[in-house]
């Protein structure tokens, strides 16, 4: 900001004496010195003006040239300088925390009063104490697929050496968070302890897949089992059960085992297990080949009929 009149800036008459100018400057500098106004950027602007005006008027030669109209105040402006406050605001400023005046220790820590209740108690009646709930602590626990489905107990070793027995309830989902009340950080001022929050990460299973409370599994069957029907053992989360494969089943047929999914938990009913059959041919001997060569079914069957007649030809004429 350009300053027109240094006399006005300092609030003195144009015929003011050097003493008057110095006195006016001191008075204003005490009020606007940036180090006496930490955090106030307007004070810094004001102080620059005052300093520039004083620089000009305190030098008799410069003042005379200004009075004759030869120069203006901008010639006396200084570059931006740094102040003590610029350094004291940084963490390094704590170097001067205990002043040399012998007040050391008296002004210890603002924050201690936050948590001791001194602030709060002053404004309230009685013995208001600062109470605060302890912090929550968060952990991640990896659990096997079947342990998450059936439920399990695990003993955790916490980083602070404490051990914690965790009950993973049946039907626990991937990403579910278990809350152990009162096992977290200690409360302050008699406040309750925080909680431990355990996020469960469920490992995938080689052949089981979960959808809500239902379990899906693909089970291979032989041609004979599929065609003639059979009773076969299939895995469920709680061990193998016998499944009746109806005669004439095919790959992709889905059979339901009621109540063999995720067990009932809380308000949830037990889920089902869905078994998808997959016919596998397995090792083939000459007898099987001969049978197929001799075999002439009553009804011709084209398993690719839904794929359209042209699709094969478009891809290079492999179709008959």
């Amino acid at each position: 900001m350009p300053v027109d009149d240094p006399y006005k800036v300092l609030g003195v008459q144009p015929q003011a004496s050097e003493e008057e100018i110095r006195g006016a400057y001191r008075k204003l500098a005490k009020r606007y010195h940036p180090d006496l106004n930490p955090g106030d950027s307007e004070a810094e602007e004001r102080f620059k003006e005052i300093s520039a005006a004083h620089d000009l008027l305190s030098d008799p030669d410069e003042r005379a040239r200004y009075d004759r109209g030869e120069i203006d105040v901008s010639g006396a402006e200084r570059p931006r300088r740094s102040y003590y406050r610029d350094f004291a605001e940084q963490q390094g400023g704590s170097w001067y925390d205990e002043s040399g005046s012998g007040r050391s220790g008296e002004f210890d820590d603002v924050f201690s009063s936050f948590f001791s209740g001194r602030f709060g108690a002053a404004g309230r009646r009685g013995t208001a104490e600062f109470r605060m709930r302890g912090t929550d602590r968060q952990y991640v626990l990896n659990v096997d697929f079947l342990d998450a489905v059936n439920g399990t107990k695990r003993r955790l070793q916490l980083p602070d050496g404490k051990t914690l027995d965790v009950t993973v309830p049946p039907g626990t989902q991937d990403g579910q968070v278990l809350r152990l009340r009162g096992q977290g950080g200690e409360g302050i001022g008699g406040g309750p302890a925080g909680d431990v929050l355990i996020e469960i990460q469920v490992e995938p299973h080689p052949f089981f897949r979960r959808d809500g409370n239902d379990i899906h599994v693909e089970v291979p069957v032989t041609v004979a089992e599929a065609v003639l029907g059979a009773r076969i053992p299939v895995p469920t989360p709680r061990g193998a059960v016998t499944l009746r494969v109806p005669e004439g089943s095919d790959t992709g047929r889905v059979l339901r085992l009621r109540g063999k999914g995720v067990p009932a938990h809380g308000a949830e009913r037990a889920g089902d297990e869905y078994v998808t059959l997959k016919v596998v041919i397995g090792p083939v001997d000459d007898e099987f080949k001969d049978f197929l060569r001799r075999w002439s079914p009553d009804h011709r069957f084209d398993p690719r009929r839904d794929m359209g007649r042209d699709s094969g030809r478009d891809r290079g004429g492999a179709a008959p």
């Binding site: 605001e89 400023g93 925390d97 603002v110």
Partner: protein, 114 residues
Amino acid sequence: MIGSDELRQLFPGLAAADLDAWIADRWVRPEGNPGAYRFREIDVARIRLIAELREDLAIGQDAIPLVLSLLDQLHHVRRRIRLLRDVIDMQPDDVRQAIRNGLIARIGTSSPDR
């Protein structure tokens, strides 16, 4: 950091005896030992401040430690507030909002920053 010679160049008008007295009174706390002091930027800025308090602002010798002590306390509190602000900044949105609401309720403005 600079040594005593460079410091003298920065403050040609400062008497060596004055600086020694300030150091002895712990108004200024350089590193090193007498004769081989090393001055940090903050020490240099503090020397400039003390010189200005004395010369430009005509603060008496007795009042300077009082001014320094009050300033040091003020800066301590300001650094602590900044630390508190940084910690609040790291809190979840709902915690920050709760703190903001609490401040607004007491200060009576929608802008608790000022």
